[in-house]
């Protein structure tokens, strides 16, 4: 071997040695000193315009950059003063008057006034913007007509009035008990009028006003860096009204799509918290990182829709038999394994203080009896075959395979599986072109209405072909009344109807399984998975 080769090998060896010895501190190790929080954040956000975006990753970032009239308690989610330091409610519970704090500022130092909120509400409701979540504001008087662009329905008709720079009056269409909770949704958050005008973004989507350097917000943090598919970084906003109480010196959000990659990033000390955990790792992590894997109740239900326009699902007996034949306890303890709660009704227990009656159970004998009854009543020898539709994902697949096995083994049904790519699946569901399809529903706010109004006749998310006049009446009545006990009675009866008619088979209530490092303090589990960052700090426990 000649000399050049020797040299090359030696230097390669040295390089390898250097690589193996020199290891910089991980983000988690240096967290206590730097106070920079690193978070896995699911997918790349659709954008950072609060009036355009629609998802959870977007919420996680925007809640650092913007603040609404109110905020929420990090533990209980109870409404707390935000930009508004106080508010009053009229006796008919339709008119809210907010007092804005005089210290509220935008991140460029401009004063934040009631005009800015009016501008923001007008923008999201402007039909030309095509804002998807504009319907969140339809609770405001005249907002729906304005948003539809109806002739004669001008902005003057919408229940938003600026009384003076620091007083905002909002008038509602009907008394809405959960209105203040709605204000915590980013569709109600303000945007900086000067910046939007500069980019012509009032009625235009997709202008670069949301970029670092352009973005002006009013939250505890301001946007510093944005690299698509890589990282979004925020730094403290010195003009935030409560800046002195913000401990973190920065937050980095990583859009890590793959749960396996995210879990590896966590184990390598790269992030403080994951968005999720791969199902197949739960057992292992329970053993190895018992203090770091967290199981937190989440406001969501996993269920199967049944298409009642297709044979044999047009028969309530078959539908109920399907719901009774599922061994939910076995499903959650052996497959999902995150301590999920088996679902024997639709609305997650405790949603807005409501726990539904358990109208369903695991009862194979009854299920078989119902099938036999159906067969003899219709004069058939076998139940016609059905198909389970799910969008491609390993966890949906495993659950579908398990349910297929239960229906086949317990009821002798011929069940096929059909997986489709996400958008194709959505198309099949909205066109009611399936037998039974997997679905999940996450509550938009902490009230049973967000779950139960799905099954209204012709509801945009019903998609089962099911309809019940009594059910519609109950949900309408609950929405119109202010009397808590009467509302709960309506929801109670509505759940009973669902259990009897079974347009859906509830399977389990969601649990958020995440990894969170013990140094993350001031981060409290709650059903909406909201964590106001101004309360978070990094510190050895």
């Amino acid at each position: 071997m000649n000399r050049a080769w020797c040299r090359a090998f030696t230097s390669a060896g040295l390089l390898l040695f250097a690589v193996s010895c020199h290891r910089p501190l991980t983000h988690v190790e240096s967290g206590g000193r730097d106070q920079v929080l690193h978070l896995g954040n699911g997918t790349e956000p659709q954008g950072l315009d609060p009036h355009i975006v629609t998802g959870v990753p977007e919420h996680n970032i925007l809640s650092a950059l913007l603040e609404g009239l109110v905020t929420e308690d990090p533990r209980t989610l109870e409404v707390r003063p935000g930009v508004a330091e106080s508010w009053t409610l009229s006796p008919d519970r339709r008119v809210y008057t907010f007092r804005l704090r005089r210290t509220a500022r935008w991140s460029n130092g401009d004063a934040l006034t009631a005009h800015d909120f009016a501008y923001s509400f007008r923008r999201i409701l402007n039909p030309a913007l095509g804002a998807q979540y504009a319907y969140m504001l339809h609770v405001l008087r005249g907002a729906r007509a304005f948003n539809k662009g109806k002739a004669g329905a001008g902005w003057e008709g919408v229940g938003v009035e600026v009384l003076d720079d620091h007083t905002l009056r909002l008038t509602l269409e009907n008394a809405t008990p959960h209105f203040l909770e709605l204000l915590n949704h980013y569709s109600f958050w303000p945007v900086h009028p000067g910046t939007l005008e500069r980019f012509g973004a009032f009625a235009k989507r997709g202008t670069p006003w949301t970029r670092p350097g352009n973005f002006v917000g009013n939250g505890a943090f301001e946007l510093r860096e944005w690299r698509v598919n890589s990282r979004i970084e925020v730094a403290p906003n010195p003009h935030y009204w409560d800046a002195s109480n913000v401990a973190l010196k920065g937050i980095c959000f990583y859009p890590i799509d793959s749960a396996d990659t995210e879990e590896r990033a966590y184990r390598a000390g790269f992030i403080h918290r994951t968005q999720t955990v791969p199902i197949h790792r739960i057992d292992d992590l329970r053993r190895r990182r018992p203090g770091e894997i967290r199981f937190e109740t989440y406001l969501g239900t996993y269920f199967y829709r049944l298409n009642i326009t297709k044979k044999p699902l047009d028969d309530a007996r078959v539908r109920r038999a399907l719901a009774l034949a599922v061994d939910r306890a076995a499903l959650v303890s052996n497959i999902t394994r995150g301590g999920q709660q088996p679902a024997f009704h639709f609305c997650p227990p405790g949603t807005g203080g409501f726990t539904a009656p358990s109208g369903l159970k695991f009862d194979v004998v009854e299920a078989r009896r119902l099938i036999a009854e159906y067969l003899s009543a219709t004069g058939q020898a076998r139940v016609p075959p059905i198909e389970i539709l799910y969008n491609t994902s390993e966890s949906h697949k495993v659950i579908a395979e398990a349910i297929q096995g239960m229906w086949r083994d317990q009821l002798g049904l011929d069940v096929k599986l059909l997986n489709q790519e996400w958008k194709v699946y959505l198309d099949s569901v909205t066109q009611t072109n399936y037998f039974t399809s997997r679905a999940g529903w996450i509550g938009d706010y902490n009230d049973p209405n967000t779950f139960l109004d799905m099954w209204l006749t012709g509801g945009g998310n019903n998609n089962t072909g099911w309809s019940s006049a009594r059910y519609d009446e109950l949900i309408r009545k609950a929405a119109a009344t202010d009397d808590t006990a009467a509302r709960l009675r309506c929801f109670h009866e509505a759940e009973e109807i669902l259990a009897r008619e079974v347009p859906v088979v509830p399977l389990y209530f969601y649990v958020n399984v995440t990894l969170r490092h013990p140094t993350v303090q001031g981060w409290h589990p709650n059903v909406l998975d909201h964590h106001p960052y101004q309360h978070v700090r990094l510190q050895a426990p």
Binding site: L331, T392, A400, G405, V424
Partner: protein
């Protein structure tokens, strides 16, 4: 005389020679034996060696390591991995063979015609290949699915549609360099038509690269099948395939290694044996080898 001998006269003895050479090649014979063994196991194994069914779930038995009852352990639903690997082999072998055959036939025919015709025809044919390379595969597959529903034949159409393109380009390149070779010019001077020249003079000289690339296509096709399953076009669960089993096992290798190990072993063994068969075939069919 050129060594690019055309096996024109006495074809029968040439095939017999090839067969003799193949039989004398120890590696090729080993490849055949191993491959035969795997095929037999996959086809007959599920009913002979195990009483487990590939879709029999037993939730409480999930993620068990290999033991006397479950030789290869169990998966997330407590299903027997041994029988699933064998069942999956049926799918993978079928897909691997048929889709490769489709891509070889299409690719060789297309590439040979394009290269031999040359000029404007070649230009149009090759630009068509460029266009097909570029079209978005995901969308193409989704459209196939939506228009024709799930159908096993579609799987071959989809896989064939992408896999023959590189083969066509390889063959075309070879034909371009062969068509001005002396023995081809000689055949042309003798008045042979294009089909005859292609079939009898050019094709035998293409076999080497074609066989090699075909053996490389088999694993690519088997893995592509797993990707197509994601779009809903592949096999229908609870059925599985080697590609799918490997894909699902990959991220679990450090905690449930048997889920990756066993399907990967079968997959690799099949590919190794195919490879030896391919090399043996190549050597045996080499038109020049007869002169050795």
């Amino acid at each position: 005389m050129s060594t690019h001998a055309a096996p024109d006269a006495g074809g029968a003895s040439l095939w017999r020679d090839a067969w003799l050479r193949l039989r004398a090649n120890r590696m090729a014979v080993a490849g055949f034996v191993l491959f035969g063994l795997i095929t037999f196991l996959c086809l007959a194994g599920p009913s002979i060696f195990t009483q487990h069914a590939f879709d029999q779930t037993q939730l409480s038995e999930h993620f068990r390591g290999p033991d006397r009852n479950h030789w290869f352990g169990t998966d997330a639903l407590g299903r027997d991995v041994f029988v699933r690997v064998l069942k999956g082999g049926q799918i993978s072998l079928a897909v691997g063979f048929l889709a490769t055959a489709v891509s070889v036939i299409l690719g060789v025919a297309y590439g040979a015609c394009s290269g031999y015709a040359g000029g404007r025809v070649d230009m149009v044919m090759m630009r068509a290949v460029d266009i097909l390379y570029s079209l978005p595969f995901t969308i193409f597959v989704i459209l196939l699915m939506v228009m024709f529903g799930r159908n096993f034949i579609l799987l071959f159409v989809a896989i064939g549609a992408v896999e023959w393109l590189t083969m066509a380009r390889i063959v075309r390149g070879q034909v371009l360099s062969l068509k001005h070779a002396e023995f081809v010019e000689a055949a042309r001077a003798l008045g042979f038509g294009a089909p005859r020249i292609l079939a009898h003079h050019i094709l035998p000289n293409l076999l080497g690269p074609v066989i090699i690339y075909a053996t490389l296509t088999v694993p690519a096709v088997m893995l592509l099948e797993a990707v197509l399953s994601f779009l809903g076009l592949g096999v229908q669960p609870p059925m599985s395939s080697w590609g799918l089993l490997i894909q699902e096992g990959a991220e679990k290798m450090d905690i449930y290694p048997w889920l990756l190990l066993f399907p990967a072993l079968f997959f690799s063994a099949a590919l190794f044996s195919l490879n030896f068969i391919g090399d043996g075939l190549r050597d045996a069919l080499d038109p020049r080898a007869a002169k050795d």
